[in-house]
């Protein structure tokens, strides 16, 4: 009996290193789990978690090492360096914010470990020719482009900008100004604000005094609600509110029907789009987390799926990089291919969607081939 036990233990000990070697796939995930962007970070965590579970069901085992950057580029860089030097991951998904992703991207070529950015919008990230940086989502210029395309038919004449003084805010507005110039829109107000302030009334009053046709907004989560509340309070009523991503695309925002109705926003993803598995992902997400998936969740899901699936067939960073560059995918995020075009390197030319909140629900309204509802224009309270 005792001998039998010893032999079992010895057998187990011998088998263990073999087992451990059989699952050496290590992938890093940098995300804003705490800090100002934590709410959106949670959506990314949920999406990535679902991807890992789905891959497990398909028999792909992966050790995911999660790091928190707290929304701070300094921490994001430290996290990336820890992942590649101490943990020995062969690929990294993340970070979420533009500021963090941009800093980490600048070091990826130094460590030669591929970085797949799931949802950061700053254009520069994939414009510097980095070989190890890939981006799934559409960059900031597409946010403003698709929004302006959606309202082009109604011939607006003037535009005002209200945006957070962050990387995402400033870069989105910069390209929006270029797009507006091409459309012949005249800029009548430009208000950059510091996040987390209780009072935006003065800035909004200035915008109201300029009486613009379009108000173009860039804000992260709760600021969007604050701004729209105060806009209603002071009676700012343009022909359309255009919200570029982030704060204007959350379920919480749409539930504030009094202030959010008819706000138009650009998004990377919706669950009523006809991409493979998008609707199914939306249903499963709602069942699991009891809330609507934001586009961030879909970005993180698809980025994680692509990274892990590709890495499972290519066990070194160099092979992984080549496979990401050569491959193409089709899933909940539509067709994905990392290509070089118009100054971008390894950038997925993603087609963005325009949605409008109609009685508390996000409805896809543009481009026409993806949408069931029509845009309501002009805006009315």
């Amino acid at each position: 009996m005792k001998n039998k036990f010893v032999s079992i233990v010895a057998g187990a000990l011998l088998a263990f290193p073999l087992l451990a070697q059989a699952a050496p796939l290590k992938i890093g995930f940098i995300n804003s789990i705490t800090g100002k962007e934590a709410q959106i970070g949670e959506n990314l965590t949920n999406g990535a978690t679902m991807a890992i579970e789905d891959l497990k069901a398909k028999g792909i085992q992966v050790e995911l090492i999660k790091e928190d950057d707290g929304g701070d580029p300094k921490n994001a860089l430290a996290a990336y360096e820890k992942l590649v030097t101490r943990d020995g991951v062969i690929g990294v998904v993340g970070p979420y914010t533009s500021g963090c992703a941009n800093v980490v991207a600048s070091r990826a070529d130094q460590y030669q470990v591929p970085l797949l950015v799931p949802a950061a919008a700053k254009e520069e990230i994939t414009m510097k020719g980095y070989k190890n940086v890939f981006r799934l989502n559409a960059p900031a210029n597409v946010y403003s482009k698709v929004l302006m395309d959606a309202v082009k038919a109604y011939k607006p004449k003037t535009i005002a900008y209200v945006y957070a003084a962050t990387d995402f805010g400033v870069s989105t507005v910069k390209t929006a100004q270029e797009n507006a110039l091409k459309m012949g829109l005249r800029e009548v107000a430009n208000e950059k604000y510091q996040q987390g302030q209780p009072d935006y009334r003065s800035s909004l009053s200035k915008v109201k005094a300029a009486n613009p046709d379009l108000v173009f907004l860039v804000s992260y989560d709760a600021d969007a609600i604050l701004l729209m509340r105060q806009a209603k309070e002071i009676g700012l009523t343009p022909k359309a509110f255009l919200g570029a991503g982030a704060g204007y695309t959350t379920a919480q925002f749409s539930q504030q029907t009094e202030i959010s109705n008819l706000v138009v926003s650009a998004t990377q993803w919706t669950d009523d789009v006809n991409w493979t598995g998008a609707a199914d992902f939306g249903r499963r997400y709602k069942a699991k987390y009891a809330k609507e998936p934001s586009y961030h969740a879909a970005c993180a899901y698809e980025a994680m799926r692509i990274m892990v699936e590709t890495a499972s067939r290519n066990n070194t960073s160099a092979n992984l990089r080549a496979a990401l560059k050569a491959g193409s995918w089709n899933g909940i995020f539509g067709p994905v291919k990392f290509a070089s075009y118009g100054g971008f390197t390894n950038q997925n030319n993603h087609s963005m969607l325009v949605q409008q909140i109609q009685s508390g629900k996000y409805e896809t309204v543009y481009p026409a081939q993806f949408s069931k509802k029509k845009l309501v224009y002009p805006f009315k309270r």
């Binding site: 800090g35 949670e42 604000y193 209780p198 800035s203 009053s205 002071i234 504030q256």
Partner: protein, 289 residues
């Protein structure tokens, strides 16, 4: 656009800043402690208002009747258990303790309430009325301001007319002398910290209907409260009140006439100028700390 619009919204927002500043200043005056957990105490007030609104269906302004005594007791206990142990220690120990307590509170809130910002939507959250035709005045902000004024008047009467209030001021003026005169300074410290906490929580509850509620929401107000205290003169209740209004108006004016990007720059330039020409603050005692 009218000059009055930023002036009015600045004064109204400044009122809430003032309330946060007064609590901090009172604690500093009586105990000579800079309370870096002040912002997190404000955050607790926001959550108290939020939960009494969503669970008990009490209007956030009426819930103050509950929040003020709860926060007072919380502050009183906190002083008894933690703060009084460092009252005679060097400033860096006190700062470490209060920063630590603040971190514990905000991170506990993060675990308990998650990082999803909560929005307290009342029927009047985004309502306003017009003054002189084109100046809009936010209803919740005006209510907050009136409540702030009321509380400040009550606090003033308490400090100047009651025996406890006079004992508090005596402790603030000279701790040793007050003790020699038979004042229980340990008790005064606990009372001051309780009142400070109650004022912070009140400021939090007052801003809750127009702001969002988040475990880290207190941090941006901590810096403001601290600036207001130093601007008005550390320990001066009147100074903190005036300082709050000044900061509110300067912010509103600079975002109207320059850009909201510049408002912090202007606030801190004024702050530095005051420190340079009047190091004791606008209403501070000369030769004080």
């Amino acid at each position: 656009m009218s000059f009055l619009q930023p002036l009015i919204s600045g004064i109204l927002t400044g009122g809430v800043y003032a309330l946060a500043g007064i609590g901090m200043s009172l604690v500093f005056g009586v105990m000579n402690i800079s309370n870096f957990a002040h912002g997190d105490l404000m955050m607790l007030g926001m959550y108290l208002a939020f939960f009494s609104f969503t669970l008990l269906h009490i209007d956030p302004y009426i819930s103050l009747v509950l929040i003020i005594p709860i926060a007072f007791m919380f502050g009183y206990m906190m002083e008894k258990v933690f703060i009084n142990r460092v009252i005679h220690h060097p400033h860096q120990n006190q700062i470490l303790l209060t920063v630590g307590l603040g971190l514990i509170m905000s991170n506990t809130a993060l675990l308990a309430f998650t990082s999803d910002p909560k929005i307290l939507t009342t029927t009047y959250s985004s309502s306003a009325f017009n003054l002189f035709g084109d100046i809009s005045v936010s209803v919740p902000l005006l209510l907050s301001f009136l409540i702030t004024c009321l509380i400040t008047v009550i606090l003033y009467l308490f400090l100047s007319k009651t025996a406890t209030g006079m004992a508090l001021r005596a402790t603030s003026q000279n701790r040793e002398a007050a003790q020699l005169m038979g004042i229980n300074v340990a008790k005064m410290s606990a009372i001051a910290f309780g009142i400070g906490t109650a004022l912070a929580a009140t400021a939090g509850a007052l801003i809750a209907p127009t702001y969002y509620i988040h475990p880290l929401a207190g941090h941006s107000f901590l810096l403001k409260a601290f600036t207001i205290c130093v601007l008005g003169g550390l320990g001066s209740v009147v100074g903190a009140g005036v300082g709050g209004i000044i900061i509110g108006v300067v912010e509103a004016m600079s975002s109207t006439y320059l850009s909201s990007d510049w408002k912090d720059v202007i606030v801190f330039v004024i702050f530095l100028a005051v420190l340079l020409f009047r190091p004791q603050g606008l209403f501070g005692k000369k030769g004080g700390q």
